[in-house]
């Protein structure tokens, strides 16, 4: 009986410490030092949030760089992947279709090796990035859709190269391009 009472008291005390004080303390500290990150890294264009830098969003128009395929069509409620196995015939068909579509829309020859990130759906369905190669292969299409001059196309190519985030600290992870940030900069390109 005494154990039971102790049990209740220990549980309440630890709940207050780890379930109330701890999360509130973290919330208070990060609000001071990382307000942008803590609030979801929201990208603001003309005083309106257009998305989060970290959450991928759909771009259907060929005037914009296209993100990766998503099993949830970039609807974050809830996040998730396709969960297809790598021996799935359904996955094979999707991969073939995506490869064909990527080549057709970008007027690439069928021999082009399509970057795998454009063939496969991500784990979260919200991947904000594509590989640098996937971005480069889309430059000509975007320039065409926007009727860019040669000089503008060169500026666009430069913008893509500037958008490439190298492996973090030189060795961690893969090089990548944030699609939302790139498309936001694209709209500002003169």
């Amino acid at each position: 009986m005494k154990q039971l009472l102790t049990c209740f008291r220990v549980f309440i005390v630890l709940t207050l410490l780890t379930g109330v004080l701890y999360p509130l303390a973290v919330t208070a500290v990060v609000r001071l030092i990382f307000p942008y990150r803590a609030g979801g890294s929201l990208v603001v264009v003309q005083k309106k949030a257009v998305g989060s830098e970290l959450i991928g969003q759909q771009f259907t128009s060929y005037r914009y760089f296209q993100p990766r395929p998503s099993a949830i069509a970039y609807n974050p409620l809830p996040s998730g992947g396709s969960n297809l196995s790598c021996t799935s015939l359904q996955l094979r068909d999707s991969v073939e279709n995506r490869g064909r579509q990527f080549c057709n829309s970008n007027r690439l020859s069928r021999q082009t090796v399509v970057p795998p990130d454009m063939l496969f759906a991500s784990a979260s369905g919200l991947d904000p990035d594509i590989s640098p190669e996937a971005a480069r292969l889309q430059i000509a299409r975007v320039a065409r859709e926007r009727n860019y001059s040669k000089a503008q196309t060169a500026a666009l190519a430069l913008l893509v190269e500037h958008s490439v985030a190298p492996p973090q600290m030189g060795f961690l992870g893969e090089p990548r391009v944030n699609v939302l940030r790139l498309n936001e900069a694209l709209d500002n390109l003169k």
Partner: protein
């Protein structure tokens, strides 16, 4: 594989090896009630907690009292999480007005978090209110890890003490593990994670109009504080459905590296803590090396499998269910680490892994989560294997087996056999049940060999308190909620209770000085014997069913055939 991939693997393993003795020494001081460098700051907090909860930390417990305390404390935690979910609709901090959770899902989730499994039959962002997340789940993230450390500490004392009836005070062990180990690490880690982009806010979800004019609702929440402890405490339950693949849980390669490190850090450090507490640091290193060998073996197979050509899909290395920023290598280090530790968080969808990588993940879980394993629980699970290995060695040399100066007798061996085999029995029987009942087959996402693997993975994960999943299986049905719930309960307590009994019995024994007939447990020979015991038990239990699952799928995979 790119040379950079190898660099990442090496840096990861090196960081783990360097940090393990540092944290391990600190934890040994904490659990032996010695002064440590945080004492001036935290001693007042600790004492205040004892005063508020009426605990006398000097009051010693027998193993039975310790066990009762563990069980009622776990039961209470489970009841609270269960009730929070059923009533979240009318409670505060529910900005999305999420309804009450169904009783079977609530029960499953309550068991899951109490047992340090953190199996996700729910989708966080569409099921649980902020209050449920931080007052229910975050608390269990801490205390389920703390109870694991407590049982581990009791076992160390059982081995270290001579002719003693008691093995420490459960409440003091829980408080100390939380205050000195889990909380400071989590505080620092949570802030670093937010710096990388993990969200931490109590504001409601934001709905934005995207550049192309569509609506997108972006979920937010107090995620960082929970993710820090979810990794450090080998819990693994995601704040969001996609777990650590979600950019708000794991936004950058650096956050990914640190989270991977956190997954194994505390459990790996426990080997050093063990060595220090039982008075033989070498013995701690022997366990560390044994675990590391198994880890690196599994990692090598997984890396090979994931980078191999996929002839069916016509690519070298599939990115299905993987994130661009992590690539293949970081997804594979994670899938191996998270299943080696009983963490179960994911940064890539395990269902889309190649068959061999999935096999490694399942093997890691099936041997009972002892390759580093859970915080505390990994090491006390490993000691069960050590006792069996010592017993086998004793049979070979024809003497009464001894370990660290304690005679190993029939009671300890019986308890260890229970600890090692109970979860295997649960996996095989519940898997079989699911295969022959319509309710078990109804929610598979695919049929054939991959469907069998889905079922097998679910129960291997639940019964060994891992929590990762082949997420194609819809496990939120009364059948799976209840069956995996039962598996999680048995998996947790069929190891911790027997090992507490072992602790109690070892504590009562006298010290037996090593003699010519003692089998040395601190050399390479013992490492081999221990590895053999683990692999043989794992392989013998599961080889037939694994052959029907991932092994057959692998044969189809290399032939370029699909389903």
């Amino acid at each position: 594989m790119h040379p950079m991939d190898v660099v990442q693997v090496i840096v990861y393993i090196a960081a783990l090896t360097v940090l393990a003795p540092l944290l391990g020494a600190y934890m040994a001081d904490v659990l032996s009630q010695k002064r440590c460098f945080l004492s001036p700051l935290l001693r007042p907090v600790e004492n205040a907690l004892y005063r508020l909860s009426g605990v006398d930390p000097e009051e010693e417990m027998t193993w039975k009292q310790y066990c009762v305390a563990l069980l009622i404390f776990s039961g209470l935690g489970m009841a609270v999480v269960f009730c929070l979910q059923l009533t979240q609709k009318i409670l505060p901090f529910n900005p999305q007005h999420l309804p009450a959770v169904s009783w079977h899902l609530a029960l499953n989730t309550a068991i899951s978090f109490m047992t340090n499994t953190n199996w996700q039959a729910y989708a966080g962002e569409t099921t649980l209110s902020y209050l449920t997340q931080f007052l229910g789940l975050t608390v269990q993230n801490f205390v389920s890890a703390a109870t694991g450390i407590a049982v581990f500490a009791a076992l160390c004392r059982g081995i270290g003490r001579r002719s003693s009836e008691t093995i420490g005070n459960f409440w003091a062990d829980c408080v100390r593990s939380t205050v000195y180990i889990l909380l400071p690490l989590s505080l620092v880690f949570a802030v670093i994670l937010v710096g990388q982009g993990v969200v931490q806010t109590l504001r409601p979800y934001v709905t934005v109009t995207t550049i192309e004019g569509q609506q997108q609702t972006i979920p937010l929440g107090p995620a960082a504080s929970q993710i820090a402890i979810k990794q450090l405490g080998t819990n693994g339950g995601g704040f969001f459905n996609a777990n650590s693949a979600h950019p708000f849980e794991n936004p950058t390669p650096l956050s990914n590296f640190l989270e991977m490190l956190a997954i194994l850090l505390v459990a790996a450090s426990m080997t050093y803590t063990f060595g220090k507490m039982v008075g033989s640091k070498r013995q701690g290193w022997i366990l560390f090396v044994s675990m590391l060998v198994l880890f690196i073996g599994g990692l090598t197979v997984s890396l090979y499998a994931e980078h191999a050509d996929n002839r069916l899909l016509g690519v070298a290395g599939s990115l299905e269910g993987k994130e661009t920023r992590f690539g293949i290598t970081n997804s594979v280090i994670w899938s191996t680490a998270t299943t080696a530790a009983s963490n179960g968080s994911i940064n890539a969808m395990h269902e889309s892994l190649s068959p061999l990588a999935a096999l490694v993940a399942m093997f890691n879980m099936m041997v009972g989560e002892v390759i580093f394993g859970g915080v505390g629980s990994g090491l006390y699970g490993m000691i069960a294997y050590v006792i069996l290995a010592v017993f086998i060695a004793g049979l070979m040399v024809g003497r009464t087996p001894e370990y660290l100066g304690k005679k190993i007798e029939s009671f300890e061996i019986k308890m260890s056999v229970i600890a090692v085999l109970a979860s295997s029995i649960v996996v095989l029987f519940s898997g079989a049940l699911a295969c022959i009942t319509p309710a078990g087959l109804a929610t598979l996402s695919t049929s054939g060999t991959h469907g069998l693997t889905e079922i097998l993975y679910a129960f291997a994960s639940a019964a060994n308190n891992n929590g990762s999943a082949f997420a194609g299986l819809n496990a939120n049905t009364p059948f799976y909620d209840l069956l995996t719930g039962a598996a999680m309960l048995i998996g947790r307590f069929s190891v911790s209770v027997p090992m507490l009994a072992v602790a109690g019995h070892l504590a009562q024994k006298k010290f037996t000085p090593p003699s010519a007939g003692t089998f040395p447990t601190d050399g390479a020979l013992f490492v081999l014997l221990l590895l053999g015991t683990i692999i043989i038990i794992g392989a013998l239990n599961f080889f037939p069913v694994l052959s029907l699952g991932p092994v057959i799928e692998h044969l189809f995979f290399i032939a370029g055939k699909g389903f």
